[in-house]
């Protein structure tokens, strides 16, 4: 025979934004720390090695910040003009940066003066990166060229002159030392192979390209430009996989989360959007105070750093999860109590009898199962239940009413208990989703306690409060109905006008058609 069926708890759809794993994950950051820089923050780059310092390029300086420090732990300021694109090497010991005057400078993290200076570009170098073998540097400049430099003897190895406009972004492959991509204002993204000294794949983005990003596997390429973020399949020779148009201003930067599951894009519309890299749907979005120019995530997404046009650097740290452990944990039964008798092997003449698995029941369900109706009602009238989950309280009242025992459960209460019921009614009676059940309960209470009214000032006060509430609600409903009537009238006149206009329109069209035919 079927077991006890628990009372049906009415669920209500949660209004507003949907709570998903992603919103929980991306909202789990502390309030941002704001650091003022001297100019627009054009690049933020995290060191790939612990302690995960990050380099911030703003105006003519490069600041290196520690993970939690708000003051720079190191500053490179030997630039004559604006510096661009300070990027760490994979081992976190070298830093390369381009500059407005066309120079590319290589710094040691511990030093102050540049180790190497690569001269050859005639215009501003906006993008530099280390190749996967660590010994070369790739740079792209406003003179339409892309150059490959050798670090040990600071010489230019190759020059690619395939772009026909400013080269503003680039990215070297993490796996192959010979491959890198650059994006240019000529609307193309080109992949170069240093073994062939020309581009191997070229894709047409359609807008001036502001950012490119190679996925860790190297098979996918993301490019940002205009309002679009486009994903290209490089293994299929640069086929467009998906085009995302979720920003309403130019997308300036792209970043991949540490797990590789989420792609982040920052834009001049002051928003950062988070995409899933499987479905390319927006799963979350952040708002910032100013247009975003650069964006970076720390190791394990511990920190989100966003640089903006007004020179503000916003740093958000993940909330630590260690807090919960501080509570004293209740001692649980030892492991052996759970496995007791479980490993007993069945002997020859034994008959195995399985204990029926016990279904977990809520406390109020246990009371209902045993027909302890007043106790069940008491249990759901506890403040912990009425405040957090009023729908459970209402569902239990409804269930008692269905069983025909609501009057019995409400009867025979003292001043304290009845005021608790009345408090709940006062708080929730006017909610439309609870109203039908609670009005019925209120009527029953009034019927039961009418003879003893006037004996307790506390309860009398509650009754008066309830009366006032009901009167207010009735007035409110009346007003609403009046408004509805007015709106109905307006709509009625509007639809008539619309229909006539539509009629005229169609007749016009019909006439035109006739003219054409004739």
């Amino acid at each position: 025979m079927a077991g006890y069926k628990p009372a049906a708890i009415q669920t209500y759809p949660v209004l507003g934004e949907k709570i998903t794993q992603d919103t929980l994950y991306w909202n789990n950051y502390k309030t941002p720390v704001q650091i003022k820089e001297f100019g627009a923050v054009s690049k933020v780059d995290f060191s790939p090695q612990p302690p995960y310092n990050y380099a911030v390029t703003a105006s003519s300086r490069i600041h290196i910040y520690g993970r939690y420090s708000q003051e720079p732990i190191k500053t490179f300021s030997r630039f004559k003009d604006t510096a661009y694109c300070a990027t760490f090497r994979q081992d976190g010991r070298l830093l390369v940066a381009g500059s407005e005057d066309g120079g590319v400078q290589l710094f040691d993290i511990s030093g102050r003066a540049p180790l190497r200076q690569f001269e050859g570009h005639t215009k501003a170098v906006h993008t530099v990166d280390f190749t996967a073998d660590k010994y070369h540097v790739v740079s792209g400049a406003d003179d339409y060229t892309v150059k490959l430099w050798d670090i040990p003897n600071s010489k230019e190895i190759l020059t690619f002159k395939e772009h026909s406009d400013y080269v503003r972004c680039g990215c070297a492959s993490k796996l192959n030392p010979d491959l890198f991509v650059t994006g240019s204002y000529d609307h193309t993204v080109k992949m170069f192979d240093t073994r062939t000294n020309k581009s191997v794949i070229s894709v047409e983005h359609g807008q001036p390209v502001e950012g490119v990003l190679l996925f860790p596997s190297g098979g996918l390429l993301a490019s940002a430009g205009g309002r679009y973020v486009k994903i290209w399949d490089m293994l299929k020779g640069g086929q467009l996989l998906v085009s995302l148009k979720n920003h309403h201003k130019t997308v300036t930067c792209l970043y991949l989360s540490s797990s590789g599951q989420r792609l982040l894009s920052g834009s001049l519309d002051r928003k950062v959007k988070v995409y899933s890299t499987t479905s390319y749907k927006v799963v979350h979005s952040f708002d910032y105070a100013a247009s975003i120019l650069s964006l970076a995530l720390a190791h394990e997404d511990e920190t989100i750093v966003v640089g903006m046009t007004n020179g503000i650097l916003s740093v958000k740290h993940r909330k630590s999860e260690a807090k919960k452990d501080s509570l004293p944990r209740r001692r649980r039964p030892a492991y052996r109590t759970f496995i007791k008798g479980k490993n007993y092997m069945k002997q020859r003449d034994d008959i195995l009898i399985n204990r029926p698995s016990k279904k977990h029941l809520e406390l109020y369900d246990r009371d209902l199962k045993n027909f302890r109706i007043s106790k069940a009602l008491d249990r759901v009238l506890e403040p912990s239940c009425t405040v957090k989950t009023p729908e459970i309280t209402v569902s239990i009242i409804k269930e008692l009413n269905r069983r025909g025992v609501l009057a019995n459960a409400l009867a025979g209460r003292d001043e304290k208990e009845i005021s608790r019921v009345l408090n709940f009614l006062i708080r929730n009676l006017s909610q439309p989703r609870f109203a039908p059940v609670l009005i019925n309960a209120a009527e029953i209470i009034i019927d039961i306690y009418l003879p003893v009214i006037g004996q307790s000032p506390v309860v009398d006060k509650k009754f008066l409060l309830l009366q006032g509430l009901v009167e207010k609600e009735i007035d409110y409903q009346r007003e609403l109905l009046e408004t509805l009537g007015m709106m109905d009238m307006l709509f009625a006149t509007m639809t008539r006008k619309e229909s006539t206009s539509v009629l005229q329109h169609t007749s016009d069209g019909f006439l035109e058609n006739k003219k054409v035919e004739s």
């Binding site: 025979m1 079927a2 069926k5 949907k18 998903t20 209902l368 269930e399």
Partner: protein, 765 residues
């Protein structure tokens, strides 16, 4: 088919199993229960129906084992006969013709050649217990007219009679008194409850009685839920009684266990209570049996109990109060509000079952397949409690979707409606709740229908309500990157001048939706939900609405409450024809153009079968039932019949079932339904010596066939097939413990080869 028999109305299964107490065989292997005009023999282990004992021509009213031969069974019936059966083989041994309408039968071991029956002689409500002497004779039919009077003015129900202490006395209860007749002294004592005299509305009427098998003790059940145990009743003055009280409502039945140590009681609470040692403290419960317990019986061996329930079910319960088997017939609810439906997958008949459930009932096997719990709430069985009712159900999209509507109305203004949509899950082979909609309408839902056309890939549902709206619900994709989900949302709300919507119906191709608003029929385009046209005949509210099918798809039929049947042509938007018919049921055949209509008149119900294209009916059968017919449904036949006569051709591919107000399921047939039933159980007849396990059924059947074959072979002297027992491979397979056997794949070829006959043996023989 050479000569056509006339088609007549026949009952089709679904008779009451709970009409009388079930009876166990002496070894507890079989359980017997009355089922309409038949007695059914079920196996207690497998629940399977083994035999149907047929021979009575009216309702069977009682069954008892023959106390002198436990392989025989007595049954009595309203047709005035007592029949003696051999239940192992399902053979009628003897028929005793008594002549009176028999209401119950009792047998006693000490009274060898007589049985006791309840008859009514003069007035309709005066019943007598008489003993009938069964003459010994070798002939099949024997007149048994020798009646001797035992007790007068008793209750007709066999629950109110009990024989005690190996037949020393018989106890009978009626209204407020208990009468005990002692066979030896030939005296009757009467006991009245004192409280019943002075209180006008006393509720301590006697409802049932049971006698202790060994001691002089009588247990009586009362309407107020008390059980009284009477002792010392051989003395008219010194009698005592003790009271046991747990039931809060009427005690429906009582039974003592074989040894008499415990007493079983049951009632409306649907809890079986076992009172140990007849004390109030020692009691055990078996709760949640599903419905009111009507009867309790105990097996002679003492290891099993069984309870018969008001929802037409028998539960077999072990001695340790564990339910072991359920024999479930068609549940007869007081009101069938969902109507009859056919599940497109299982081809089972679907209707309201036990409270809050939909039952799936197999018409072929007269067996309930399963119950679908729709309301999913604890059922509180209490008199006068307003329950949640399942009011509407509809299948859609080839059985992939099921829509149900439930309601609870306490007062005029407090209506609680809920619509649930269930999706068929192929993995679990059952319906899973998909969407729950609270208050889909503000008032009662009058009709629910799915669009079943193939071109609609998106499932569409329409509900019509008394609040003047009809709503269109569509399945929408609700999935995101985290989960895949589909749910139903409202797509369109339509109304027509605030009239109540009473019916809705999709055309066969799904392009049109017809919704009737009181007297007016509106036609809507199902793509744009635009009102296309309206029909109004001013002949009362529309009661039924349906589109024609196949070649008649341009017609729309409507039956009004004032007894007019209208047929509109959808192409010309004009009335094609109308007829004066007070139609109660109108049901289109989904596989042909035919439409069956059942009209109601003061005499009875008449059936008309017609095609919408012409007003002349194809077939008329007057007076199919005296009662009002409430629902009807067409079912596709498994094997098409071949009626050549034009009048019966509508029955060739489909069969028409209908349900009357008293919940009897009827159909049209030339044969009796039991002939067609060809119970598989006949082949599954169990041998005495072997335990009846499913494995046995498979092997036993095989063996039976093989035996037949050997017999044939012996007769014609052709080939002698080896018996399965003689084959070493089989005996090896069956007698070796399983854990030392090699894998089945290894054994398979050897085993199959051993079953084949080699050519050499053939030549040799």
């Amino acid at each position: 088919m050479v000569e056509e028999e006339s088609v007549r109305v026949v009952r089709c299964g679904g008779s009451e199993l709970n009409f009388r107490r079930a009876v166990f065989s002496a070894d507890s292997k079989y359980i017997f229960c009355v089922s309409g005009d038949f007695v059914k023999v079920h196996s207690t282990a497998t629940e399977e129906c083994v035999h149907i004992l047929q021979g009575h021509r009216n309702l069977v009213t009682g069954i008892q084992l023959n106390p002198n031969n436990h392989l025989q069974l007595y049954s009595c019936s309203f047709d005035g006969t007592i029949k003696l059966w051999d239940y192992i083989d399902g053979i009628l041994i003897k028929t005793f013709i008594v002549g009176h309408k028999l209401h119950a039968i009792f047998t006693l071991a000490c009274a060898e050649d007589s049985v006791f029956v309840i008859i009514n002689k003069e007035k309709p409500d005066v019943f007598q217990l008489v003993s009938v002497k069964l003459p010994k004779s070798s002939s099949q039919e024997i007149e048994a007219k020798e009646l001797s009077f035992v007790l007068d003015y008793i209750n007709q129900s066999p629950k109110c009679i009990a024989f005690g202490n190996e037949g020393e006395y018989v106890a009978a209860v009626r209204d407020f008194y208990l009468s005990v007749y002692f066979f030896k002294k030939k005296t009757t004592s009467r006991f009245t409850l004192s409280s019943s005299k002075n209180k006008k509305h006393a509720k301590n009427n006697f409802t049932c009685v049971a006698c202790h098998p060994k001691e002089d003790c009588i247990a009586t059940g009362h309407k107020d839920g008390k059980i009284r145990l009477w002792r010392n009743f051989d003395d008219g003055k010194k009698y005592t009684y003790t009271c046991l009280h747990w039931h809060h409502d009427m005690v429906m039945d009582l039974a003592f266990s074989v040894t008499g140590t415990s007493l079983l009681s049951g009632g409306r609470e649907s809890v079986l209570v076992e009172w140990r040692d007849a004390t109030e403290k020692n009691k055990e419960f078996l709760p949640r049996l599903g419905a009111t317990i009507e009867h309790i019986s105990v097996s002679p061996a003492g290891d099993l109990f069984c309870t018969s329930h008001s929802d037409n079910k028998i539960i077999i319960i072990h001695r340790n109060l564990e339910a072991s088997a359920v024999i479930q017939g068609l549940v007869k609810d007081s009101s069938i509000s969902t109507g009859l439906m056919i599940d497109p997958r299982t081809k089972a008949l679907v209707l309201n079952g036990k409270p809050g459930h939909l039952q799936f009932y197999s018409l072929q096997h007269d067996k309930q397949l399963y119950n679908l719990d729709i309301i999913q709430q604890e059922y509180i069985n209490d008199y006068g409690l307003i329950q949640i009712e399942l009011t509407k159900a509809a299948f859609g999209c080839y059985g992939n979707w099921l829509a149900t509507v439930e309601k609870r109305q306490e007062k005029e203004t407090e209506l609680d409606l809920q619509m649930k949509l269930w999706m068929y899950n192929k993995k679990t082979q059952g319906f899973v709740l998909n969407t729950k909609i609270n208050m889909p309408h503000e008032d009662h839902i009058t009709a629910v229908c799915f669009c079943n056309a193939e071109k609609f890939e998106n499932p569409t549902l329409v509900t019509a309500s008394k609040d003047g709206h009809f709503k269109v619900w569509i399945l929408t994709d609700d999935s995101d990157i985290y989960k895949k989900a589909v749910g139903w949302t409202c797509d369109f709300v339509g109304s027509y001048h605030k009239y109540q919507a009473t019916n809705c119906c999709f055309s066969e191709d799904g392009s049109l939706l017809a919704v009737s608003f009181e007297e007016i029929v509106t036609i809507w385009d199902s793509e744009t939900w635009e009102l296309k046209c309206t029909f109004c005949q001013r002949a009362g509210n529309i009661r039924h609405l349906c589109f024609g099918r196949l070649t008649c798809s341009k017609y729309l039929l409507g039956a009004t409450e004032n007894g007019i049947l209208c047929c509109w042509n959808l192409l010309s938007c004009a009335l094609e024809w109308s007829a004066k018919l007070n139609i109660r049921v109108m049901e289109p055949d989904p596989h042909s153009e035919n439409i069956a209509a059942i009209s109601q008149s003061s005499v009875g119900s008449d059936l008309f079968v017609f095609k919408p294209s012409e007003p002349r009916p194809l077939y008329i059968q007057k007076n199919i039932s005296r009662e009002e017919v409430q629902w009807g449904v067409f079912v596709l036949r498994d094997v098409p019949e071949s009626f050549t006569s034009e009048a019966y051709q509508w029955l060739n591919r489909s069969q028409f079932y209908f349900l009357t107000k008293s919940q009897s399921l009827l159909t049209f047939s030339t044969k009796s339904p039991e002939e067609k039933l060809t119970p598989t159980s006949k082949q599954l007849l169990a041998e005495e010596s072997l335990p009846t396990t499913p494995f046995y059924f498979i092997l036993g059947k095989h063996r039976e066939q093989q035996d037949e074959k050997t017999n044939e072979a012996l007769e014609s002297e052709r080939v002698q097939l080896p018996l399965t027992e003689n084959i070493p491979a089989i005996s090896e397979l069956l007698h070796t413990p399983a854990h030392v056997l090699p894998s089945a794949s290894f054994l398979c070829s050897k085993f199959v080869n051993s079953l084949l006959l080699s050519k050499e043996t053939k030549r040799n023989s």
